[in-house]
């Protein structure tokens, strides 16, 4: 073996990247992961490029990935030579050109739009002192949003592919031992110890072994894997190559869903670049180790995130799970021993080998080590990706880091782990985030999606939403999942319409248990979790729907009514009348408005239209509690012109 020294690789990258690494001209970085683009980052990027050309400012405008701060997108980092990089949030094209003129040209940091500095600075406070940054521990997200994902040199300049270089000098057993010492467990959901999975794959004698990165992320509200691949794909490729080295695989695949076009483009480019530089392909860095990596585009079936279904779909079969054992580690793709790891697991592998097992093992709880990336969405103030050490409490994550609930509303529940997870109520907010604690609360780690719900969310409707998702995504193979989840869905739908009975509640509980026990794969086995946890923590809401036709959250359309409070309504204001699509609002002799309940379709447009100084439109449940109107609605059809 005659390996290329890593120092030489790093130096060459730095040379190619002199301007960036040594920062001789102003550098402007725009976050253009999908989340940023959705908020208009493309326009900001174009504006910055055009404006700098127009003003004759020599500046490097770069696309970078995602910092995870979705609530403040589009984000721009501005770094002047010799100063710390500054972070600007909620940038528009206009703000962008102002930053260019005021800061880049005239040297005024333009504090109005500034979130903070990314490095210690005399003028501007550090962003890391803000709560949203302070509690985070960025390992996987370390470089996300700070490097150009399409420039391999930018990654190498930050010790990229050092871990792979190191792994190639280690014995495979030593790599696995290091992973074992780190205590790393799979980040795809179930939390199986990574080293054991690798060991199992390695132990099966075969002429070829295969490694697959599972990037078939599909939970509603979860997008960690997408952001990681869009922001720093090389980190994941490097982890996959280390895994391949450890288990002795010569073929690798990234199974990425076709709905992630930007991630696909960036991963494709990353594979091409890494292959061209000799980090992938034949005789990697002169070590004699070969790994051929291919991108496989999944066609968007949620169930294909399940290992055996994923393999079936790669083999050209219908994406349906099969019974395990045999596990893929023994008989996987094309019958070969196959290792399948989640994106975040592989990203962490890179860090374990680059730094040390202790670096990961020193974070987290006794049984759950390292960090986890969560995507917090829903009714939380500062949405986005958050990376925290395992063992952080849910309360700290939602309230300290993400700023609590939007619009000063009350917290109701947090749904963790997507459709396989559960809803955790306020009483359990001090639960520590680790595999076991979440499991015993009825939820699961899942892939890291968290949907925060406030007092206006109906828990029956939430359960119905997730069961609808699972039923739609069920592959249909096994009876419990195919028909059982549909029965649950029908029952839940009836309850939200006030048509449920107390025997339905009993049937729902029994079905949920049976589906959990009897299903073929984990999609079906965990599908009842949203139902079971909402029944466990919010049964009184179910009972209110069934017994009183009342939706306590005032959300289920069939169980609520809109009512205009006469004392609040301003005589003569017509704001609500024009917005009503069914002309249900009529004017009384006092010139105040009232709603004809027979015509109202409960769309809620009038609530939005009623000026905030009146707030006269209110929601009432059950519907029978609407006060009788002061004057009856005008005669039906009285003004209609015939002929």
């Amino acid at each position: 073996m005659n390996m290329v020294p890593y120092d030489r690789i790093a130096q060459e990258a730095k040379d190619r990247f002199k301007e960036i690494a040594e920062n001789t001209i102003p550098l402007l970085m725009v976050g253009t992961a999908t989340c940023g683009l959705a908020q208009g980052a493309r326009d900001v990027l174009v504006a910055l490029k055009e404006e700098s050309r127009r003003l004759g400012i020599e500046a490097e405008v770069r696309e970078v990935g995602c910092l995870g701060h979705c609530y403040a997108e589009p984000l721009v980092v501005a770094k002047m030579p010799g100063t710390a990089p500054y972070l600007y949030g909620n940038v528009t094209p206009t703000k962008g050109s102002l930053i260019l003129r005021r800061y880049v040209r005239d040297g005024d940091p333009f504090l109005d739009f500034l979130m903070g500095s990314l490095e210690k600075d005399d003028v501007v406070p550090l962003v890391y002192d803000l709560p949203r940054f302070y509690f985070e521990k960025r390992v996987i997200l370390e470089l996300c949003g700070l490097i150009d994902p399409e420039d391999i040199d930018h990654y190498i300049a930050h010790m990229g592919y050092y871990a792979l270089h190191k792994a190639l000098t280690m014995a495979p057993e030593a790599i696995i031992a290091e992973i074992a010492r780190s205590g790393l467990r799979g980040r795809g959901g179930a939390g199986f110890p990574t080293a054991l999975k690798w060991e199992a794959c390695r132990s099966h004698i075969a002429d070829q072994r295969i490694v697959i990165c599972n990037a078939d992320e599909g939970d509603p509200g979860a997008y960690m894997d997408r952001s990681i691949l869009e922001s720093n794909p090389h980190q994941v490729l490097e982890g996959l190559a280390i895994a391949a080295r450890a288990v002795g695989a010569s073929r690798g695949y990234i199974y990425l869903r076709a709905e992630y076009p930007l991630a696909i483009r960036r991963v494709k480019k990353a594979i091409e670049d890494a292959t061209a530089r000799g980090f992938l392909g034949k005789d990697i860095m002169g070590s004699g180790f070969d790994l051929h990596l291919t991108l496989f585009e999944g066609s968007g079936a949620f169930v294909c995130g399940e290992e055996t279904a994923l393999i079936a779909s790669m083999e050209g079969e219908r994406g349906m799970p099969r019974h395990r054992p045999p596990y893929p580690a023994e008989r996987g793709l094309n019958g070969k021993p196959t290792l399948i790891n989640n994106v975040k697991t592989l990203a962490l592998v890179t860090h374990v080998i680059r730094d040390s097992a202790e670096a990961i093992a020193s974070m987290g709880t006794e049984k759950s080590k390292g960090t986890m990336v969560f995507s917090l969405v829903g009714k939380v103030e500062q949405q986005g990706l958050v990376e925290v050490p395992m063992g952080t409490t849910l309360r700290s994550l939602i309230f300290d880091i993400c700023g609590g609930i939007q619009n000063q509303k009350g917290f109701k529940a947090v749904q963790i782990g997507g459709p396989s997870g559960g809803c955790i109520p306020e009483a359990l907010l001090d639960t520590r985030i680790d595999y076991e604690s979440l499991g015993s609360a009825g939820a699961m780690m899942g892939s890291g999606g968290m949907v925060v719900m406030d007092e206006e969310d109906c828990m029956v409707e939430v359960a119905r939403f997730f069961v609808e998702f699972t039923q739609g995504e069920s592959c249909g193979k096994c009876t419990f999942c195919r028909i059982g989840t549909k029965q649950m869905l029908e029952i839940l739908g009836d309850i939200t319409k006030g048509k449920g009975t107390s025997s339905d509640l009993k049937l729902l509980k029994e079905l949920a248990e049976d589906i959990r026990m009897g299903s073929l794969c984990n999609l079906g086995g965990t599908a009842p979790n949203p139902v079971l946890t909402t029944l466990r923590y919010f049964e009184e809401e179910y009972r209110a729907h069934i017994g009183e036709q009342r939706c306590p959250a005032l959300q289920c359309r069939e169980l609520i009514a809109y009512y205009i409070i006469p004392d609040r309504c301003a005589a003569g204001c017509e704001a609500c009348v024009g917005t009503c699509p069914t002309e249900a609002i009529y004017t009384m002799s006092t010139r105040k408005k009232a709603i004809d309940q027979g015509k109202c379709v409960r769309c809620g447009e009038c609530v939005v239209a009623c000026p905030p100084e009146y707030r006269a439109v209110t929601k009432i449940s059950p519907r029978r509690e609407v006060p009788p109107s002061l004057e009856p609605p005008p005669e039906q059809g009285g003004t209609e012109i015939h002929g």
Binding site: S474, G476, T479, I483, T485, K486, M517, G518
Partner: protein, 228 residues
């Protein structure tokens, strides 16, 4: 593989190690409910979830079509948990089934009729929602018709047609909308009839029986479209 002794429901049974438990049990006259088990195809489908048994040392019931014989295995086929899950699975299947036995090709040799008798489940499931798809019969293949209102999605026809290399049947769609789709693949009448024979219910029927079995559902579909 060597012969080993295992115990199924207190009965000692000798069997080759590594064989599928369900095959061994059925050969020894121990009935285990099943719909999707095909002795001639070694890869078990494990989709119907009827053949559950409890095996000593396993936390929850397992499917006997995927469980392999190991020496000293202790198996129970009739525990309360097994029966509960089997009845639940059967009720679910019946809730999505067009129960019209009098006009069904499989009447009196239907696996659902047999299982409901054995497990004490009524054919008309009252407590669950009616999920019968009410779709017309599929006449794509000519000789053999497919009745989606009877189909239990056991996949027997799909797997046998794959084995025969005729590709006449395959699954399409997801969730409750999953269907067996038919493809005119040039399969012979004999091959299609072989596939028909592995259907445990009346979902694959000879074309000549189509009118009788299809009339009921045609009336219901017509009634439904009138209501809309």
């Amino acid at each position: 593989m060597s012969e080993v002794a295992i115990v199924i429901d207190d009965m000692e049974v000798k069997a080759k190690e590594g064989r599928r438990l369900i095959d061994v049990a059925l050969e020894h006259g121990i009935f285990i409910p099943h719909l999707c088990h095909l002795p001639e195809i070694e890869d078990s489908y494990a989709g119907c979830r009827m053949c559950l048994v409890e095996v000593d040392g396993k936390a929850r019931p397992v499917t006997s079509c995927t469980e392999r014989v190991r020496p000293g295995m202790m198996v129970r086929t009739d525990t309360p948990m097994v029966r509960r899950l089997q009845r639940s699975a059967l009720r679910l299947l019946l809730s999505a089934h067009h129960v019209d036995c009098g006009n069904c090709y499989a009447n009196k040799r239907c696996a659902l009729q047999d299982l409901s008798k054995r497990l004490g489940v009524k054919l008309k499931v009252k407590e669950m929602r009616d999920l019968c798809p009410r779709l017309p019969l599929d006449e794509t293949l000519g000789h053999v018709l497919h009745d989606p209102n009877k189909c239990v999605h056991c996949g027997n026809c799909v797997r046998l047609s794959q084995r025969l290399g005729i590709g006449a049947f395959h699954f399409s769609r997801r969730g409750l909308k999953m269907r067996v789709s038919l493809f005119p693949s040039g399969a012979s009448k004999e091959e299609l009839e072989r596939c028909m024979k592995v259907c445990p219910v009346g979902a694959l029927i000879p074309a000549e029986f189509g009118k009788r079995q299809g009339d009921g559902i045609r009336k219901e579909i017509a009634k439904m479209s009138l209501m809309e």
